[in-house]
Symmetry: C2
Subunit: 442 residues, 2 copies
């Protein structure tokens, strides 16, 4: 058998079947896809390849799926910290966005974010931000897989004037991107408190027609619940249910607030949750009850949120925080064990995005989105269980290689398609501009 790339790895952790760790196995890639997974001894005999990669202290895992980002906001990383959500938004982020968010900002911020994500093993991100056309273009140029959020709010921004205008641009962009191989789209109404009933109803219709998921911040904080009760006389989730949003198309991000009834309804609707543990902690938004959700059979994916409230886009770290925090919150050390945490960071994200036929596991026939993690570092020695180390001990710096649709994006820890130095210089320019502005507005 002839193939393009053949990777010999110490371990392969395919995620499906669950908890399986294959030792001394190899993975063959051709035509962007996984062609074979087999014992290395057999692979060395039977397969010849154009590129052979020897990763003899490494584990291969499916590329990580960051199911909630605001990529361009990486340029606001560390702009304002140690503040609650609404102060952070009203006094810092929204004024900064009002002043700075335009096409160049989104292009440069997205490029920075993708560079960071690739380096730490993320191969697909589900974004929500203004100028999603730019996000899509930058991701495409680099070769990053993305689910681009077709953003909708009631409020005017540099991207659109009002809900109708946002929706018009959303449908237009969906259409323009429909045949791009690495790009999918989600409708992305920002949150219940920023989008009114009419546009939400319209999005339900469009989502059904076009078979596109709806990606939305929901029940992030108790304040959001209180505001909704005041304005609509119901909790946000109830309102969304009444508007027809509660369906398998819904990707509800954060979801720290639940009644028992809401959890049952949500489970029956087959909607998805994206858990963002570090952002929830940092903004003191509340604890998402991950174990309870999983016990209800709800699909829980994982996201970092934007780097302005995290302050990184490191899914390995996020997976670790998720696994640790779930135990603390459930008061149960067996909650969210390592294999389940890895599944959350890969397959569950793919399922939420409707991409599970293509990505999320290492299985023959799927797209070759593959990440290699070097477990030979002193940080992860000795190795009794590589799955445990990937969740509880390995750091982003141990990601050695990353393939997306078979293309090697990171090789031996170095970017192959991103000009890191150009990004560093560009960030310093933005830093100077934004700092000057901060000083002048103090």
């Amino acid at each position: 058998m002839h193939t393009e790339t053949l990777i010999h790895a110490k371990w392969i952790i395919p995620v499906e079947p669950h908890e399986v760790v294959l030792e001394n196995h190899s993975l063959a890639i051709a035509d962007n896809k996984i062609k074979a997974i087999l014992p290395t001894a057999q692979a060395r005999e039977e397969i010849d390849a154009e590129h052979i990669v020897e990763l003899l202290n490494h584990a291969l895992i499916p590329g990580l799926v960051n199911t909630h980002t605001h990529a361009a906001m990486s340029l606001f990383r560390g702009l304002a910290d140690d503040l609650p959500l609404m102060t952070w938004l009203n006094d810092h982020i929204w004024p900064a966005e009002h002043k700075w968010v335009h096409e160049e900002f989104v292009a440069d911020g997205t490029r920075l974010a993708i560079a960071e994500m690739l380096k730490s093993g993320t191969t697909c991100f589900n974004d929500m931000y203004f100028f999603p056309d730019i996000t899509a273009r930058v991701a495409q140029q680099i070769g990053m897989r993305s689910s681009v959020g077709l953003i909708v709010t009631d409020f005017p921004t540099a991207w659109a004037d009002n809900a109708e205008h946002y929706i018009h641009k959303a449908v237009e962009l969906h259409d323009a991107l429909r045949n791009e191989p690495l790009i999918s789209t989600c409708f992305a109404p920002h949150a219940p408190y920023t989008v009114s009933d009419q546009p939400l109803k319209q999005l339900v219709t469009l989502a059904n027609e076009l078979d596109v998921p709806i990606h939305m911040h929901i029940h992030e904080t108790q304040d959001e619940i209180n505001g909704s009760i005041e304005q609509y006389k119901k909790r946000p989730l109830e309102r969304l249910k009444d508007l027809g949003l509660l369906s398998p198309s819904l990707i509800g991000v954060h979801m720290t607030q639940w009644t028992d009834d809401e959890m049952s309804h949500f489970a029956r609707s087959n909607a998805h949750v994206v858990h963002c543990p570090e952002s929830n902690l940092k903004l003191a938004s509340g604890f998402c009850p991950v174990k309870q959700l999983q016990d209800h059979g709800i699909n829980v994916a994982l996201g970092t949120d934007g780097a302005a409230s995290n302050n990184d886009l490191d899914m390995l770290g996020e997976m670790r925080t998720a696994a640790l925090l779930a135990k603390g919150v459930a008061q149960d050390a067996s909650a969210l064990p390592a294999a389940q945490a890895l599944r959350m960071a890969t397959l569950n994200g793919a399922i939420a995005l409707g991409l599970q036929e293509h990505i999320g596991t290492l299985e023959v026939g799927k797209e070759a989105d593959v990440v290699a993690i070097d477990l030979g570092h002193i940080n992860t020695l000795p190795v009794f269980n590589p799955l445990s180390h990937i969740v509880y001990a390995a750091g982003r710096e141990q990601v050695s290689d990353v393939w997306i649709a078979g293309k090697r994006q990171i090789a031996n820890g170095k970017h192959t398609t991103v000009d890191v130095q150009r990004i560093q210089t560009n960030c310093q320019q933005w830093q100077a501009k934004l700092s000057a502005n901060q000083l002048s507005s103090d």
Copy 2:
């Protein structure tokens, strides 16, 4: 002025004064100590040095103080996960220790731990384990600063036969180490549930006589409280108070369980808490109420615990988890802000160990325990506030240089005194031995 080493840094964060960030400053080292901190422009004119180190994208911080470790247990990293404390101890860790813990194990495990700690910016660790003489010797050989735990329990181990024997060896070792420049000691009675009244009373007397702190796991879980009420008809802290342990010499580790009265008493006693957030989460031990403790004026230091329940010894990561978790637990996004988290990981540890005259801040006259963190990585760009980035965004891989008592232990990300390859090989040998044993006992 002539000096041995002169470091030109983009930023110096001395920790004392609080929240201060000095830009374009330099730090001069001679005779193991910090000789000067001054603007770089002035330093370039006035100081000549044998070694000049240019760190133009870097922040200098005081060396991190890991105030609770079981260093040798790094060889058990990932041996058993996703289990609650008592199952983990009774069914996995204690049997493994019974079989494996001897001098060679402690030497090799400690060497692994120190290599990991140095690389991630820790310059002092406060340890508790069997064969503390070996821990001290290995730390000394490498040039790592350590506070060695003079362990005491009621139970026989390869190190000692009974409490009396432990105490005898403790006093002997204290005496042997008293003039070692990089070593201090703590009495280390394991926990209220493993040490009976008589040896605890004896330790109080000895601690007073010898002016040595007492380092002890206390109130780690609700189970511990229940057990104590059953056995002693009082909560552990009340029992320790009655035995005379509640004093400025006491370093209480974990402390997830508190009554209001306990907190007030603890505060008045000027005893110290070591917070181990990741271990507490992983074992679902409970949440340490850090903000409340700090509001009571209690000195809270930070520790990783052993790598068997963490599963790393990364104090940068621990600081981040502490800062994030404190906000979630206090439901207050301003709880444990970045500057306070860094103080906890440096000066507060030094205070708990009674070493604040020597380490914990970057101040002229203190020992030169200095860590450089490269903030020019894409993970930490742009930089609006280096203090925020060190806590919320920088990873251990961004630690570029580490000095302990003026000796450069890490230079450009590489160990200077530790043979990493030898440690890797040695770990693989332990991995084979321990794995074989696990399989045979299954």
